[in-house]
């Protein structure tokens, strides 16, 4: 192949790479669009040898096993006695000896139910705060030209800084306003901390709303903010759902702020409770696994149910 022939497809490929984003002025999730693109494309003659196909499948199966093994082991541990665990096997040793008691014991060893409630209050409260910050934020970054670009850069800087940088200053700030040891305090801090992520994901959704729609609304007498609320907001709803889901997961799993600002059991979320399990002298494998699963399972259910939105929001928001 000559050098020239080599370069033409590259240019075409680059154009095509931009294409899906340009074509899709609708606000359906890009996962659906990508799926359509994939299906619409004629099945090409990528002839791969059967051996290569088997190789690809084996490799992917291995990936799936690696992705699942740790959580599968938690499930196995959660129904085993310590003696059974110490055999070091992956699966429970004997039938009829399953130690279901681990699950109820986990709720007694730490105030699991209370901590779980705290985690969800922090997660949902912070998502609300994030939404209030990120919707106008993304509108500014997408529509306000240079001012938007500056805001975008400042938010990126805020996201890049390790959270530990803010821990000591925020500790004193929260103490000053009486929000240490408080679910409200954690929700506020997490909500603000996750705002850059949400703005970053939402920005491209706002950009894809045709300006003409807003212009028509302005002619009808709506203000810019009114247009944002009445025209833009409904159109970026799928992106907002995805961004808020991501931020909910981030706040739900947050640990550094929680362990620094919540010293009382009453205000601690589950992540802190699980880390306290570690401090015990004897490792309660089964209980610890059960407690971790109590925290993980709702997230998994939510992630699987909302997979379309998540994948769409992440891939569309991140690929600009």
């Amino acid at each position: 192949m000559t050098q020239l022939a080599d370069q033409r497809p590259i240019a075409a490929a680059q154009e095509a790479a931009v294409d899906p984003a340009v074509n899709s002025s609708s606000t359906t999730t890009s996962a659906a669009e990508l799926e359509q693109l994939r299906r619409a494309r004629p099945r090409g003659p990528h002839r791969r040898s059967p051996l290569a196909q088997v190789g690809v499948r084996l490799a992917l199966a291995l990936v799936a096993v690696v992705a699942l093994a740790p959580v599968a082991f938690l499930v196995s541990l959660s129904v085993r006695s310590t003696d059974d665990v110490l055999t070091g096997s992956w699966l429970p040793g004997g039938f009829g000896e399953l130690a279901w008691g681990n699950w109820s014991a986990a709720f007694r060893t730490i105030p699991l139910a209370h901590m779980l409630a705290n985690s969800w209050l922090v997660a949902l409260g912070s998502a609300l705060v994030t939404a209030v910050v990120a919707v106008p934020g993304a509108y500014v970054t997408a529509r306000a030209g240079k001012r938007g670009a500056r805001l975008s850069a400042a938010l990126l800087a805020g996201y890049c800084a390790p959270p530990v940088v803010a821990v000591l200053p925020l500790f004193f700030l929260l103490k000053e306003v009486g929000l240490t040891n408080s679910v409200v305090g954690l929700a506020l801090v997490n909500g603000l901390a996750n705002a850059p992520v949400a703005v970053w994901l939402l920005d491209s959704f706002v950009r894809r709303v045709p300006v003409e729609l807003e212009e028509a609304a302005w002619l009808d007498g709506l203000s810019v903010a009114g247009g944002l609320r009445r025209i833009v907001l409904p159109l970026i709803a799928p992106g907002l759902v995805a961004a808020l889901l991501v931020c909910t997961f981030l706040a739900y799993g947050e640990f550094l702020f929680a362990v620094s600002f919540a010293q009382t059991t009453a205000s601690q979320p589950l992540t802190v409770g699980l880390s306290l399990f570690q401090g015990d002298r004897t490792v309660q494998f089964g209980q610890q696994a059960a407690a971790a699963l109590v925290g993980v399972v709702p997230v998994y259910v939510l992630a699987v149910v909302a997979q379309r939105w998540l994948v769409g929001g992440l891939s569309q928001g991140a690929l600009k």
Binding site: L155, V165, F255, G295
Partner: protein, 299 residues
């Protein structure tokens, strides 16, 4: 009717207010506070008492664990970012190779791959700590019986940090897969077919057709993974608490245990934070500039 066209209507400034509050609370105020606390005597009860010059910085730099923790943070972030990006890109290519045949899809496997990503890092730490427990850990048992002698990767100061890197990579590789896979769908099949008709091998097809399309995404993801790696704290706190010895004390953990545990030496912790912030700022700004230049060279 006003003579200005609607298109030039300005975005009102007050819309910037909520995000500006976030920036002030999370970036501006902490920076000012950390600088101030670095040069004053500060206790948990009373911050910013009196000017002490460079005493806190000296104390931070003389702390045995601190310099090492900066190096560990850098090693952790860079190696985790490179590994996650490389493995994730490879898995995305495998997924694409399968979906290209028109069977299955991102579907079930994609869902499975999302799970590590949405697992809270503390739970990730708990799961892997149990898997790798010297007694009762299924993974250590399996490896021990394969090797024929006891294996305890978290118990040795030469392997503990590397093990944490791998656990972090387990969690964050799916993000790479997701984003690179989406970018791969932008590579037109016609070009791949043309390349294969022209007799280009898999490697040549990748470098000539696929890579130019996905390279910007891969670089962005690498940057994102680097940023995420610099934030590491949870895994260390849950899995090793910095041990064995000081072998897994990363900078975040060192700041935490100096300022908010033990002696509650807030001044020294603030000075450490300042040094860490400068280091992370320099590295991310540098990489970000390189990325922008690479993007400029592409265009």
């Amino acid at each position: 009717m006003s003579t200005t066209t609607p298109a030039v209507r300005h975005v009102p400034r007050w819309l910037s207010l909520p995000p500006l509050v976030a920036i002030v609370v999370l970036l501006v105020y902490p920076t000012v506070f950390v600088v101030a606390a670095s040069f004053t005597r500060t206790t948990l009860a009373r911050p910013l008492q009196e000017w002490t010059g460079f005493a806190n910085l000296t104390s931070a730099l003389q702390t045995e664990a601190f310099a090492g923790s900066l190096v560990r943070t850098l090693v952790f972030a860079v190696s985790a970012a490179v590994l996650a990006t490389a493995i994730g890109t490879a898995v995305a290519l495998l997924l694409r190779a399968r979906t290209g045949r028109g069977e299955g899809g991102f579907g079930v496997l994609g869902t499975l791959l999302l799970l590590p990503l949405v697992t809270p890092p503390v739970m990730v730490g708990v799961a892997w700590k149990l898997l790798l427990a010297p007694a009762g850990g299924a993974l250590t048992s399996t490896f021990s019986s394969l090797v024929g002698s006891p294996v305890n990767p978290l118990g040795s100061s030469s392997t503990a940090l590397g093990t944490l890197v791998l656990i972090h990579v387990w969690q964050w590789t799916p993000l790479v897969v997701l984003l690179v896979f989406a970018a791969l769908l932008g590579v037109p099949d016609e070009l791949l077919e043309a390349a294969s008709l022209d007799g280009a091998g898999a490697l040549h097809t990748f470098t000539a057709v696929t890579w130019p399309v996905v390279a910007p995404t891969v670089l962005s993801v690498l940057f994102l993974e680097l940023v995420v790696g610099f934030k590491v704290f949870d895994l260390v706190a849950v899995v090793t608490s910095g041990g064995p010895g000081l072998s897994t004390v990363v900078a975040s953990f060192e700041v935490f245990r100096t300022g908010l545990r033990g002696d509650y030496d807030v001044g020294t912790a603030a000075a450490m934070t300042l040094v860490l912030g400068l280091l992370v700022g320099a590295v991310t700004a540098g990489v970000s500039a390189l990325r922008t230049r690479a993007a400029g060279a592409d265009a």
